[in-house]
Structure formats: C-alpha cells, structure tokens
Subunit: 529 residues, 2 copies
Amino acid sequence: MALGLSASPPAVLLLLSLLGLAAAGKLLVVSVDGSPWFSIREGLHMLQQKGHEVVVVAPEVSLHVKPSENFVMKMYPVPFTQEEMDKVFKGSVMDLFKGGPFLERVIRQYQQAKKTSALFLATCTHLIHNKELIRYLEESKFDAILTDPVLPCGAILAEYLSLPSLYFLQQIPCGLEYQATQCPNPPSYVPRVFTDLTDHMTFLQRVKNMLYDIPNFFLCDVVFQPYAELASEFLKREVTVPDLLRQASIWLMKLDFVLHFPKPLMPNMVLISGVNCAYKKLSQEFEAMVNASGEHGIVVFSLGSMVSEIPMKKAMEIAEGLGAVPQTVLWRYTGKAPPNLPKNVKLVKWLPQNDLLAHPKTRAFITHGGSHGVYEGICNAVPMVLMPLFGDQMDNAKRVESRGAGLTLNILEMTSTDISNALKAVINDKKYKENIQRLSDLHLDRPIHPLDLAVHWVEFVMRHKGAPHLRPAAHDLNWVQYHSLDVIAFLAAVTLLFLFISFKCCLCCCCRCCCKKGRTGKATKAKSH
Amino acid sequence: MALGLSASPPAVLLLLSLLGLAAAGKLLVVSVDGSPWFSIREGLHMLQQKGHEVVVVAPEVSLHVKPSENFVMKMYPVPFTQEEMDKVFKGSVMDLFKGGPFLERVIRQYQQAKKTSALFLATCTHLIHNKELIRYLEESKFDAILTDPVLPCGAILAEYLSLPSLYFLQQIPCGLEYQATQCPNPPSYVPRVFTDLTDHMTFLQRVKNMLYDIPNFFLCDVVFQPYAELASEFLKREVTVPDLLRQASIWLMKLDFVLHFPKPLMPNMVLISGVNCAYKKLSQEFEAMVNASGEHGIVVFSLGSMVSEIPMKKAMEIAEGLGAVPQTVLWRYTGKAPPNLPKNVKLVKWLPQNDLLAHPKTRAFITHGGSHGVYEGICNAVPMVLMPLFGDQMDNAKRVESRGAGLTLNILEMTSTDISNALKAVINDKKYKENIQRLSDLHLDRPIHPLDLAVHWVEFVMRHKGAPHLRPAAHDLNWVQYHSLDVIAFLAAVTLLFLFISFKCCLCCCCRCCCKKGRTGKATKAKSH
C-alpha cells in the first residue's frame, strides 16, 4: 500500500475503474416517468462510462423514458396506448385551468388524480405480473437497484429480488420519507408540503402546520393501499409500503438548503441537488435567437414537460403580458399559438432549458416551479417568475420567493399586467439578481460535484451490498419505545410510588408522634389528677 | 463561463487557488491542547499550502501545541510552568491507577479534575485578558476562526471579534453539541456518553440511558459557569456557553458510523473522521525493528500522548502479559522500564503510530481508545485491544468491541493472563481481522478525503462569511415552542371545548325532548282523565 493509496481512496477506485480493474457492477433502474427521469438519466450516463452495466426497466408507453446507448432498456407492455396516456395528462392540466366553485374543483381534481393513479398502478401491475421479465431480472444477478420511491414499484422489486436499493427523490407527498428513514421532522419549524409556509411561523401558522400532519396518518395508507395489496400478493406475505421503503440503503435527495429550509437529516440521506447543472453549448438555431435579442437579452419560459398546452384564453393573457417587456421571450409551447402573440415572443416545441439559462444574456426564467427547473435557475443565477400548478410546485415557489430570488403568480387568477409587472420587477430590481446570485454561489460551492457524489453512492451500495452501518437502530423500535413513553411512564410510576411511600411513612411517623404526645399528655394529665 | 466551470466548481476553485487567483483567507485557530491538536494540525498544513494565512494562538506552556513553519504562532504567557502542568496531568493518570473504596476514588478524581480545569480556565483567562494580543487579533481582520468547543475560549473570541466560526470535535461531555446545534438526540437509541451502552438497548438500559440525561440539565451549567462569567465580563453582556456555541457556522465532527451508532444529524455538521489517516514511510530505525519481527509481525502499544508513565506494578503486569505472545511489541513508554521486560518488547519514547499501523506486518494495536488512535486503527484495519482510562475512551472501546473488531480490558483489574489472552485472541481469531477489515473498507470508501472536506468547509466559511443558510430556524424557538407544546395545548383546549359544547347541546336537546315528552305525557294523561 503506497502513500497515495492511503491518502485518497476514491481517486484509487476511479483509477482502477478506468483501468477496468475495479469490479464493474450491474445496476437495475426502475424510474418514475416524468421529470425525475431527466435527473436520473445524467447519472446513468456516468455509470456506464465507468464500466458498469445499467438496465432500465420501463413500460412501452411513457412520457419521457426512452431508449439510449447509455443503458440496456427492458420494456414491458401496458394496457393503454400513448394517446390514452397523453389524454389523461393533458386532461389533468386543462382541468386545473377550469374555474368553478371550490367543491366542484376538488371533485374534478380528485377524479383526474384517480385516472392518473390508475395509469401508474396498471403500469406497476403489468411489470410485476410480467413473468418473462421477472425471470430475466431474477437471472440477471444485479448488484443494486436505483428507483424513485414516489411510486413503490421499484421497492417491491428490490424486496422480491433481495437487492440493496438506492432511492432518488425530492419528497414523497404525505411525508413518508420521514417515517421510512426514522428522520425527526419537528412541525415547529419544518413546514409540511402544500402548506405554503416557511420555517419561521407564527403561532397560528404552527397550528396550521401541525393540522396538516393529521391527514398523513391515514392518507398514506389510502393512497398506497393498492400497492400494499400488490406487494403482499407478489411477495406472498403481508407488507405495507412503509415496510418496503424502510429497507432502502441510501436516499439520494434532491434538496439543498439554499432552497429548502434547514432540518434534521439521517446518515443515509445524501444531498445531490444540482445533478443536472452541467450544460452544453447552444445549437446554432438557439444561439442565433439569443444573439438577436440585443442588449435586452432573453427570458426563458417553460411550464415543464407535463404541460404542453393551456386554454387559449390563458395563453392570450400570457402573450399580452409578455409583449410588455423589451426582452425576447423563448416560450416552450406545443399548443396552438395565441393570435395576439407579440413579436418579441418566440414559440418553440422544445428548448434546451439549462443551456439557455446558462447564457449570460438570459435575464429571467418563467417556470412552473418544478424542482428540476428551480435548481437549474439557481445553478445559473437567473431570477424567476413562478407559476406553480400542482404537487410540490407551490412549496418550491414559496421557497424561492422567501429567499427574495423570484416572484410567484397565481396562474389561475393572474392578469397580463401581473405577468408583465412581475417580469419587469425580477429583471430590473437588482435585489432579485443579487439574491439568486448569492444562492447560486452557495449552491455551486461544494466539495464534490453532486453527480460524482450520486455515482459514488451507487457504486458504494453495489460494492458493499448496501450500507447497513448507516441504518439507525430506531427501525427496531415501535412508536412508544422510540418516543421513550414506556420509560417515562415507568420513571413516573417509580417516582409516584416513592413519593407515596415517603408520604405514608411521614404520616405514620406523625401519627405515632401525635399518639405518643397524646398518651404522654393523658398520662401527664392522669398523673396531675 | 465554459462547460468545465459549470460542471465542477470545486476543481475551478482549486485551480484558481493554485494560480493564486482565488482570494486567500486569513484563519485564526484556537486549539485545545492534547490529542485534538494532532488532527487540526494536518488541516492547517493543507490550508497553508493553498495560500491561506493561518495564525495559531496558544499558551507558552502546552503539551503538544508547538510552533511550525505551516502557521504563524502567537503565544501568550500563563501563570504556571511546564513542570507544574506536566505534574498535574501525570498526577491525574497516576491517580486513576490507585485503588481504594469507590467514594474515595470519586473524591480523588474530582479533586484532580478541579486542578486540570483550573489550569484550562487560567489559560483562557490569560488569553482573554492579554490586551496586547487581543488588540493584535482585532487589527488582524481574520475571515474565520477554527476552534475546539470542548473549552469555549475560542467561542468567546469568535463572539468578541464577530468572526464566523468552525468547530472541530468528536463530542462535548454533557451533550452540549446537541443543544447548541438543535440536533434531535432520542434517548431510545442514541446512547449517552459514559453509559457503556450500544444503540440496541433493553428496557432497563433505556431507563439507564434516560437517567444519564438528568445530570446534563445542571452539570453543564456548573462546569461551564466560570467560562460564562469570563465571557459575560469580557463581552460586557450576560451570555451562557450554549448561547456562544449556537453561533457556530460549521461543526467538523470526528465521527463515522462505522464506529459510532447512526443517529440524526444537522445540515451544518460535517463528518470528517479519518483526517489523520495519510501516512509516511517509516524511518530506517522503525523499519529495521519491524523487519526484525519475522513472520509473527509486530504489535503497536500506546496509551496515548497524555499517559507517559504508569505505576511500576501495573507496568510489570503488562510486561509479563506481552511476553506471552510471539510478536514483537513496540511500546511507547517514557517511564522507568519494568525489570521483567521480556525480549520481544521494545520500549520507545515515541513511535510513528499511524505509519506503524499501516505496515502489513502489524498484527494488533493496544490502545487506550482515544478517538484519534481508534480511527487510525480502523483506517489501517488493525484489530485492537482497548484499555480505556477516562473521558470518551470507555465509549469508543465499547463501540469497537460491539463491532467485533477488538476486545476491551479493565486496565485497573486486568491480569497479565488477561492481556496475553486478549492479544492472542485478536491476533489469532480471524473474525477480529475480518470485522476490522470490513469497517476499514467502509471507512475508506468515501467520495472525498475527509481532509479535503474539512479544508473545503474552512474555505467555504471564509469565502461566504459563515454558512447562515444551514442554520435551522429551531434556534429562534424556545423549548415549549420547539416541542409544539403550546400548539398541542391549544388544540387540546379547542377539542375539549368543542366536546364540552357538543355534550351540553346534546344534554340540552335530550332535556327538551324529555320535558316535551313529559309534558306531552302529562297532557295525554290530563286529556285521558
């Protein structure tokens, strides 16, 4: 063992890997469709470059998970077509823009959520029940599985194949990641999802935050019940989804405290936000568009990969708002162009979002507030106008706004003036640029690039067959034991018993004294008689 | 901004630093004497190499903090001599070996602790009251301060000079690091210091663990009261030691979960155990000793830098035990050589501990269980025989033993047979080597070397004037608010009020019904009459 080897083991492993001497691993990937896939994809490319074999399992019909030369793709049939799936997602988005009374909107969204959930559940069921694919997976002898736990299909497979697993996520709606990692999550300063709160809360806000915890006690069970049934049937024993998620070796979490509010972590949580920050040179087409923008520069506008079209009325309102700024706006939009589209607005079917944000001529970023996009905005220090639609987007928007790095608009209620005012503010008021620049500086100043960090932990789990030394003993305690309620009750009982006995003894002594005094008194009296 | 810059900011910073383009920082270091200094020293060398200016403030009389070419040393006089200090420390160690009834031993140790504390307090007082030195520090315009919070002298200076601070530590006796970082620390699975417990506890062990928390409520106040008074006088306002420690930007913690039991962490805790793992080639003298050991190899034996001498009776017992193994034992010992010293035992005044442990011929490591030495043992995968004496050594020994990587002996009660048996066991029973090798593999498999990590965070704090984005909002809550007791009380009151009103309403309705029925009944009766 030479000096260099001892001082820097990761460098050695990298060297060995480049020389093909380190054991190459075999990784199974079960990704959730949608934007999470974009972040996972980056890591898979690097793993393949380092000599590992990557197999991605995906349904034949999906939004974004497509074959690539960086991995082997194993596809399985699902009982719906691409058109049917696109229709469901498009319907969900269009539904958000429909007005109406509160109750009506809730019922509509619930029905849409049911349709989407049914799609995801069908996808999972068809994976689990695909005997040929399962046999292939059994025979393939993988070293680990990388999956997104928002849908527990990968977790079920990990349990069935007895594989150590890594999870890749920002958050799971009903706070299941805290339960599954045994991570403390005090409601006094850790805002719950969908609450629109920051970490500094008034008394009433803390009451609200705690009330938001109540549905979590049963909502998770309801949401994940079909998966629990699927898993129990497949694994031939009763399991719950939290049981499955508790088995994860490493949680690769897309969060950074420049955006999220500081909170406790567990040893097996690895923070890797910013994995998608590296950028390429713009294509000639986009470079030309940007250069044509002149001194005013450009604004990048995208409502995310899930939103391809919005109602014409809303599109016209937005177009009018965008026309009021001197910047060229590159708007990713696949719907019908609004008739009032101003000259400075260019509609494109697709745009290289991160590469555009990295351009020095970019002045602002209009985004729906998905975590992927928000971190790209932070990476490239571009002030944001946020138009959150659903999921964690409201919370992300709140976080950006609370840092003074952007402004949030209510996409349903905003007028064209609101849009132009917000855009002018984030571009012309220096404080937004200063704040996002500060966040960006902090975000980028890390001891190791998040992509290298993510890849290291994937390799770690493959090399060591998991990371059991990072698993807290809290997993072996029940709720009462974890909170030491049995110990507190025991100590209270002992203390009370001690006090009771002491009191009884004192009482006894006092009685005896009094009796003695009484008898002495009587005796004295008797004598004196 | 080019592709490389965006993809790998730390590499850029390193490059800029090498080119002398990155702003060089100015770091003030206030180290606690003893073994913590050895770990800090390594980092200072690297910081100096990266172009930063490092100033170490130390008393003229100290155990290990000595001038070096890697930093500027500012010394200040203290009211005791080297001999007086050595006598106090030597007395403390010798006292540990004296027998006697329990109470007598406790009183003796308390008196020794008082003497040691008086030395440390005097050192701190003479630093704080040294007007010339303080003026120099004020004028020097440092960017940050690096200090060990076990003694809060550095923390007082940080507050006075308004400097962002980094703490470097393993733990603070009464768990003050949890209070100061707002880190959750559940007694149900996080064993308290000095309890000799692991993370898997029976009910009664959990009771014991919780009882050990009780003294912490007042012990910290008693221990740190003189420092609180010193700080309040110096800063001209009332402060407590926890108030001071709460200001730390980053806690560089010498812990790794291959040794410590997994527990919650906070975002500003950085784990850097293993900073002292890089080793150099052995000198000719030691290389010759090791090579002369033949096929049996060597055993490295050191009771740490604080223990230079032990009572002759104990030394003879140890010598006898060591004589029963075929290995050559290199024993760091500055006391008088025991007359029964066997041929295979070589006494040396000093030994290159880590470099020897890294030698392939090293079979075992006899250590007092200081965290510095234990991590060197883990780095180099050498099974250990632990003879803990005081402080965190008992806990470290328990951790190594619970991992099956060593055996613990009670240094006061052990016989020569116990020593030879333990040594033979860890050398000949393969499971010890296998277990320590597994721990070592996990410990060394990190994405970045801990020394680079520590240096990064020191530079981060210097560059960004602290790390406020990692500070949890919990610091702004009092105990009742943090635990949401006010919210729980409010919700309970509202629920009770609601139940009470509902009950009253029901009662009222029932009464009315009954009355009506009664009246109807009476009316019917009246009618029927």
